[in-house]
């Protein structure tokens, strides 16, 4: 079992009307499931245990004003389902704040457990 992590800031404005959006893209044709914690609770993705089961999705996190000072934690489990590759990647995008943000992470999936965990820890500031 391997883990890939990333910690960073995302600058938000004082706007009470403009939303910040999160987009997740899973690469290499792999299957993934994401759990998202923002502010003080989990976002409901509509899947089992409130997870987001789509490999590519966009979700509104709240307004800039609401998010200021809060944290965003996303853990994504990527399952190795492709017969011809053990590679995986996650691209995270944040839009709607002071500027757009993009972070790509890649990892080779453990052959034993067939799964790799990605965690993004973003501090809204």
């Amino acid at each position: 079992m391997s883990t890939t992590t990333h910690v960073d800031f995302y600058n938000v404005s004082k706007s009470k009307s403009k939303n910040v959006s999160l987009t997740i893209n899973t690469g290499f044709g792999q299957n993934s499931t994401s759990s998202i914690y923002v502010g003080s609770g989990m976002l409901d993705g509509g899947g089992p245990n409130g997870a987001f089961t789509e490999e590519d999705f966009t979700v509104d996190l709240g307004t800039n004003y609401e998010l200021n000072g809060k944290k965003l934690i996303i853990t994504i489990s990527v399952q190795d389902i492709q017969p011809h590759t053990d590679e995986s990647s996650i691209t995270l995008r944040l839009t709607g704040g002071v500027s757009d943000y993009k972070k790509l992470m890649t990892a080779t999936i453990d052959k034993q457990t067939k799964v790799v965990f990605y965690t993004y820890y973003i501090m809204f500031h």
């Binding site: 910690v7 993934s32 789509e54 994504i76 790509l104 067939k114």
Partner: protein
Amino acid sequence: MKRTIISSLLLFVLVIGVNAQDTGKDKDGENDDYKLDLLQAPASPAANLIGTAPTEVQTFTDPTAFMVSLQNGARNFDGFPKSYAVDIAPAWLFWGKNISYAEFKTDNWWSNIKQSFVLSFAYTNTDSVVKQTDMGIGFKLSLRRGKINSDADTLIMRSDTVMSYMTGKIVLSLANDSVLNSYDSSIRVLKEKLKSEGADPDTDDDIIELKKKMNARIAYITAEINKSPEELKSEFDSLKKFTEKIDFKRTGFKIDLAGGTALKFPGQVFNYSLLSRAGVWLTAGWDFDNGMTAMGILRYTHNPDKIYYDNDSSLYKADNLDIGDAGARLQYEGKDGKFLFGGEIIYRTVLNPKGVAPAWRYIINCDYQVKKNTHLTLTLGRDFDGTFNKDGNLIAALNLIFGLGNTIDFDGE
């Protein structure tokens, strides 16, 4: 005591050793053995054209592994290996991070072409009395791939349930971890301070150090959660089981296109080359859920400097021998994979030179797996025969050996 032993009927079966039967080999050197996959486009067109074994073809999914293979093959770039064959899928090798599962699943034209496009390259050196290098370059792609079976989708959904339990547990643990929360508070205070001082927080050593500690803490908590055997062992076991069971067998309408060309370099002089063969394959048909397959093929091969027989069995040499094949295959494979029945028919016409009559080849094949490593196989067929036009039906293979029972009488002791 009179004991009668009836030696039974022995029905031994040999898996067809197709290669043992030279009847299937055309005089143009093409290996048309009695296999039902003659209508299949080659897995690796370049390797196929120069006769490299498919097992020697290397494939890669990341550029680093590709470079390491090249380096090893070329003895640390000191020279070239004696033979080398590689298939590269550029979309997966270079842009794999842009391929989503949804795009992998889809059967639209552009996604199919992009994901299935394979560049094939192979070469081999012959260092015997006559030195020569053979080189093949080819491509392969699917225009239509069919749809992924519903069993795979079910297993993906079950995997999602297991994974969602894991990710939910990790996220909540991270959110409520006091150490991480204390780092979070410290780094925010520090960033605010740096901001008021007009310094750049992104390059500040203390910020970088705190981020490192937070990354380490996240990795530690994730590892600790996944180490708890009572809680997650069964989840991991289930996930692994589902992953291993997933089979992306596609059914429905399929179209594959493949092509390639082979060059030879006599004397291994690389500024002098001759075209030794070129071909293009187009296969199309249906794979049904019930195990039935109906496929058709159009194939064109260009063979320079070939010897052939005309209708009067006279031997000729053609500058360029162009052959067109059209064929069809119908096959049924039982759900458990133990029973297979099929047949294929190929019509061959010589496009150039004119004057050579077309020929037919057909084959019917039946295979039943009696037990592991034991097959009952029957193959009947008619070859193109001779180079291009030779009459006569033949039984290609009848691999049934009946050990007929007899009765042996034993008198008692």
